[in-house]
């Protein structure tokens, strides 16, 4: 299990990396390497050129300001997990990161790498969708933003041109008092989830649901926002019956199938996890009398 030959480039400026990416045929970008390195070892990925981003300064910033969170693509998962600012402003992200792989992989793995690898069950992709993230993309010719909903093109395929790379993501923060929950069912601790669910709820002054986000991971190529369930919840007073009814929307989703889990099981798991995520998220809201 040794990688095939490749030429190795480790630029120390972003512009240089982007120029290489524009110029070189069959090039891959190396971020944290926690997904790409096994693919190289198995010769599933056989790039002629590897462009290592690890020496480029400034790609790993974490900024929480003005209702918005920006995370550089090369920010290590472990740093994000340990960031007190993110824990306070975006607890969904922190909770999900505790379930991403293991300490050793989070020490190297980056948020940009996870987004671009785009595993259907990847926690961070689901979180990005739940938070309506915007992906910042750069190439030698300029930059552009991609809404997370448009980011997955197909199974494990982001909508990036060959000369483009992700440089960061922006997340609009939810107001203080919101409740969030990320929950998943995985076979073992640290495994990719079979299905994951992310819920965010914001109560209004009357204790009704003023804002809601519900997202599933692991059921389709990209994260699945549950618009119908969100609509059912919006403006309503929460109750176990309401959450159960909203969760039952999952019974009709078009879930994928693999050797580990058939579609019917994923649908069932989705229903259970959405209900549990809603209950937990609501319990975590603040400023509402119980």
């Amino acid at each position: 299990m040794k990688p095939a030959r490749f030429a190795y480039h480790d630029p120390d400026h972003l512009a240089e990396a982007l120029a290489l990416l524009a110029r070189l045929e069959n090039a891959r970008v190396l971020a944290g390497g926690q997904s790409l390195m096994p693919m190289l070892a198995m010769r599933v990925a056989m790039p002629d050129h590897l462009i290592d981003l690890n020496r480029i300064p400034g790609l790993d910033g974490i900024v929480v300001a003005e209702g918005s969170l920006r995370i550089g693509a090369m920010a290590r998962q472990r740093r994000i997990e340990d960031s007190p600012a993110i824990r306070a402003a975006c607890p969904l992200m922190t909770e999900a990161l505790g379930l991403v792989g293991h300490i050793q992989t989070r020490n190297r793995g980056t948020i940009g790498g996870s987004l671009c690898h785009l595993d259907p069950s990847a926690e961070l992709v689901t979180v990005a969708a739940a938070l309506d993230a915007t992906i910042e993309v750069a190439s030698a010719t300029g930059t552009r933003d991609i809404g997370i909903a448009d980011f997955p093109l197909g199974l494990m395929t982001p909508s990036l041109a060959a000369e483009e790379m992700v440089v960061g993501l922006r997340i609009p923060l939810w107001p203080a008092g919101h409740g969030a929950c990320f929950t998943e069912f995985a076979r073992r601790h640290g495994d990719y989830a079979i299905v994951s669910a992310a819920a965010l709820l914001l109560p209004d002054a009357q204790g009704r649901i003023a804002r809601v986000s519900l997202t599933l991971g692991g059921v389709s190529a990209g994260p699945l926002r549950l618009a119908a369930a969100e609509a059912m919840l919006l403006g309503e007073a929460p109750s176990p019956a309401l959450f159960r009814a909203a969760a039952s929307c999952c019974a009709g989703i078009d879930a994928m199938e693999d050797p580990q889990a058939p579609a019917w099981y994923r649908r069932r798991l989705a229903t259970v996890l959405v209900r549990r995520a809603l209950e937990q998220a609501w319990a975590r809201t603040e400023g509402v009398a119980a």
Binding site: M1, Q104, R188
Partner: protein, 162 residues
Amino acid sequence: MSESRHIALHVNGERREAETPVRQHLADFLRGTLGLTGTHLGCEHGVCGACTVLVDGRAVRACLMLAVQAAGRAVTTIEGLAAADGTLHPLQQAFCDHHGLQCGFCTPGILATLVEYLAENPDPGAEDLRIALSGNICRCTGYDSIVAAALAAARALRGEAA
């Protein structure tokens, strides 16, 4: 772009320089090029944790990092854990005392993981330790003795009687 590079790094406190093929991962570099065979390879696809080493104090999978990426970094392997006079690191001593190893193949990676974890969490609970260890597979012990050893090492590192 040449297929190999000359790199310099610190390994177990010593400056080392060597040529490495760019496609060689850090574990093969440590084992093959530097002869530090205490770091083991169990899967080479980032799941088993046997190859875990410390890079700048952080536990990482040495099969998921290219050797060239370690240039300029400080790497600590199992060979660098004991004191210069040969005295075992408290984790090493605790693993011997508690039968925390059987075949010993996964042990170096487990110790690397625990060195970082106990530095950040000096007084962990057994359940926290199990989560911290979940990225290291051991096929021999069933883990109980490893958790017991880690708890004992944590006590020793805190200066308490084991």
